[in-house]
Amino acid sequence: MPFDIVSFTKSFPFALTMKIALLTLIGLYAIFSFMLSIKIRSFNKIVFLPPSSGAVFIQVFAYIYFFVVLSLFFLALVIV
């Protein structure tokens, strides 16, 4: 008997399972991106690089990136 993906997805709460899996993944990724921004901040304290080096831009980008991931988490929580 060929595998029918549509009937398989209807055999259990597919949407709920997928939502939980997706939220878990995005949540873990948000932690990773937060860690990244913390790491950058700590490195900027060890070595002070001038503004021309782009260190400030990288720090700001890391924060923006974290907030975008966090926004995606809440977006997934609300709309999915």
Partner: protein, 210 residues
């Protein structure tokens, strides 16, 4: 008979002695993609002494970033090719609700951008610094592991560099290793550009301390 030596005090009053000009250090600006900067302008370290000057600032050679550039490019174009692949194997993503697909696509592109950003940060903060007193090696591996190693110049011995393979020789980059005398541990500036110049500087510093 010509004078071989005459005291400057005996010079005529209209001639003044030429002042000795000390060579001044020329600072070089540090840019975002700089990999080798002698006397970098505006760089300072935590717990840097007032009379300690940064002589050399190095990062991995820029060419070492090519593998993750290629990986990022493949990651970015993969979703464009995905429908064609699925079509060829007679598969469809129609069973996934549209809202899920939007979130999954956004999340995928965030991961792709994050992958590139994490690699860039790993390169950006993988720094080697040489001052007239110490050598500092800052490494960041996969964001989760960071190491900061410092060694005093007078404790360094056996400074050497390795260029392995065609690419390292062609693009003139390689590993500079130095053994710390007290602990026997090795400090390594990995894949640094112009390694011969780095070794030359370190050797002259070590020679100056001996």
């Amino acid at each position: 008979m010509p004078d071989i030596f005459s005291d400057q005090e005996n010079l005529p009053s209209n001639l003044t002695p030429v002042p000795v000009i000390k060579p001044t250090r020329v600072f070089h600006p540090l840019r975002m993609l700089s990999t080798f900067v002698q006397d970098p302008l505006g760089v300072s370290l935590i717990e840097q002494a007032a009379d300690e000057h940064i002589l050399l600032f190095i990062r991995r050679d820029f060419i070492t970033n090519v593998p993750w550039f290629v990986s990022t490019f493949i990651l970015l174009i993969a979703p464009i090719l995905l429908p064609l692949v699925l079509q060829s194997v007679h598969w469809s993503l129609a069973f996934i609700p549209q809202t899920f697909l939007v979130i999954i696509t956004l999340f995928y592109y965030l991961i792709a951008v994050g992958f590139a950003f994490a690699n860039f940060v790993t390169w950006f903060y993988g720094i080697g610094i040489v001052t007239q007193r110490r050598a500092i090696d800052i490494d960041l591996y996969n964001i989760s592991y960071a190491s900061v190693a410092t060694a005093k110049v007078q404790d360094l011995k056996d400074v050497r560099y390795f260029q392995r393979g065609f690419f390292q020789s062609f693009f003139d980059y390689g590993d500079v290793t130095m053994v710390v005398e007290a602990s026997g541990e090795t400090l390594t500036f990995e894949q640094t550009p112009r390694p011969a110049q780095v070794v030359s500087l370190l050797s002259s510093l070590i020679g100056g301390h001996e």
